[in-house]
Symmetry: C2
Amino acid sequence: MIDKTLDTSILLGLYETAMLLIKQNVEFVSKQGLTNQQWVILIHLAKDPNLPFLIREKHTMPLMASELADSLGVTRANITNLLTILMDKGLIKQIEDKEDRRKKRLVLTPKGDKLIKLMQPDRKKSNAQMLSGLSKKEKELFLIYIQKCTENLQTQKFS
Amino acid sequence: MIDKTLDTSILLGLYETAMLLIKQNVEFVSKQGLTNQQWVILIHLAKDPNLPFLIREKHTMPLMASELADSLGVTRANITNLLTILMDKGLIKQIEDKEDRRKKRLVLTPKGDKLIKLMQPDRKKSNAQMLSGLSKKEKELFLIYIQKCTENLQTQKFS
DNA sequence: ATTAATAATTAATAATATTAACTATTGTAT
DNA sequence: ATACAATAGTTAATATTATTAATTATTAAT
């Protein structure tokens, strides 16, 4: 018999919430012909200041594929596939790095930029709906708890 | 330019935390030759009282495949595949429902039960580590916020 | 008695991601 | 200066995970 604990209830709760959240997002972005992963790449290139990866690390130069792989937690090969699709759609383009010719910097095209801007209002509405019923103070605490978890999960790797 | 908001920071934070959490769990359960989904099914059959699905709905009878599909948010066909693997491994078994012969109830075998019990100590340790640095009071608030999100995400479907 | 609904399964396929091998370029250590 | 390692990206083959559509069996509803 497994006992009921706060820790495990939180973990399984987080898991379920994230699954629902992804499902909803898949629905949202598929209206624009995007997959969830493609969308996440686009908001990275749009420098969304809410992205944990961009909060933790300052990036003055445009991102490259390997940095996206880091942030999304997938392989570079996978990122290559996703970027090819986004380039075929004309939403992003690669720029060669003059200083290091191995690197390719990634930026939104005007079309990609326009698409992200177009989706913003509905996106914000849907995000607000997910958190409705929580006060500003509660949301601030919520964010702190989430960030604490991420921190713990990332340092755990080295134990 | 996308603006920084509490709502979106929380949403993207949740997303990242869940991805890290799943990665860690995949590592944990793969040591026992399980995938993440297989593991989630096993703790359902072990009646883990921390599972949101089991908190929301009382189940006196053993679960059936369609209920698992509901809880995991996947198709019944997918569940069938997962159950076949778990039965081949001898971790679960099907029991025919006498009252309704369409239904098949799912239970752990002694081997499956033993495996779950064996994994519990490490599981609890890892869950505690994810939440280290948070007080009991903070954890209680955290759980309430998570449950509020799930609620909001589930009612949003009908808008 | 017929039709609809529910439960589970099967087969084919879609999607998503990984591994391993390869090219090109840059960094490092003799 | 040369050799070796490391980084960045790509490609091809494959693994995985999940879905859709069709099928069987059983039960519910009209």
